[in-house]
Subunit: 252 residues, 2 copies
Amino acid sequence: MKHIHSAKNPQIKQWKKLLTKKERDKTGTFLVEGFHLVEEALSGDQIIEIIISENKDMPPSWDYGSIPVTMVTDEIITELSDTEAPQGVLAVCRQQEGSPNISSGKRFLLVDAVQDPGNLGTMIRTADAAGIDAVLVGEGSVDIYNPKVLRSAQGSHFHLPIIRGNLFEWVDELKTAQIPVYGTALENAKEYTEIQRQGKSALIVGNEGSGVNKDLLDLTTANLYIPIFGKSESLNVAVATGILLYHLGNEK
Amino acid sequence: MKHIHSAKNPQIKQWKKLLTKKERDKTGTFLVEGFHLVEEALSGDQIIEIIISENKDMPPSWDYGSIPVTMVTDEIITELSDTEAPQGVLAVCRQQEGSPNISSGKRFLLVDAVQDPGNLGTMIRTADAAGIDAVLVGEGSVDIYNPKVLRSAQGSHFHLPIIRGNLFEWVDELKTAQIPVYGTALENAKEYTEIQRQGKSALIVGNEGSGVNKDLLDLTTANLYIPIFGKSESLNVAVATGILLYHLGNEK
């Protein structure tokens, strides 16, 4: 096992750069942090290497095979960590590549310009729970590999494809594949309960303030709204996503 | 209009103490921050006074009548603020008192030991949207007047009763009032879709890690679970609350 003591070590500097989106995209990698997320990474095929504090033990249940492990000081862990109380373990992982396989899937979530990392992470976790086949994240959203997105998603990045790209192209592909596409909107929209559960569907949810891009809404099969029975102006976007995905989705 | 320049002014020190739960409870008051929340406070009857930066203007649409307004420096605003980029306006408000009127209400949300302020605030906002009559918050939950709870709830504290107390007593009262009480649990529970929409219901949701207290679950009419179709271990508690409240609730 390699052991690095100096924060000035070039390897440490390289890892630290992964706290920026620019470096994550340049290298096609990202960092996950904490025992739960590293364990989730180990269950998939995206993990490249593990970084652990010299004061922590690798859990005996972890089957890390030939995955390289580097031991570092707690000071280095703090340098690499995005949290206030680091757990002492991180992993470098490969970003997912390629396009979603729309023709083989049934249910999709499309995310348009969601800004808050906690919201996006919770939406990814919710999509995983609801049995969605892939989450398609358009331009203008927070980075899917932002550390707070990863934490809020609680490992779901390793459970289903989370893919960045152009939502207009995907809506086209979904419609070509005969999958109904539902936008979310307040105007010219149907109450969501008017739509029955169905085998295949795609849902588009949008920005916390401005909602889904109007040009996208023009392309959908129908647009849906969730009624507000009280005095709040709207629902949180992750909560709305949960209500709609569970309503549209999975037949038993 | 009063104008305070010194952060050492005793009034400022007193307001600053409202950043602690202890002082909020001692005085029966709390602080809200930002133009949206102060405007929501103005629409209710809990507002006591307004504090505004000398570099900001009171929006002309605000009807603050005889509510005292104090002008302060930006340094003082920063002292009183819980956010990194304060908007420059705060209000001192009275906490809600008394018991929920269970016999006149139809739908209730009971919250058992939810720790994360963003979750609790989002749940309060969701309960408001779903047309819930009151949110009952048991011991062991984060303070309902925590600044992050207030921000996430986006003003719903001024729309419906949010009341702290003993959940066991409330479950008793709800059952006496013939209102079915549904817990949330993973074991000995029904899939939530087995329960039909109904006129009256109370829902208990619980701690992010351990769920609802087992002794409470023993007292319910039935306990419900939301199926997980994918690989995530669970749903975020605010998302689960949204799915269940919208399923149980409001008939058109």
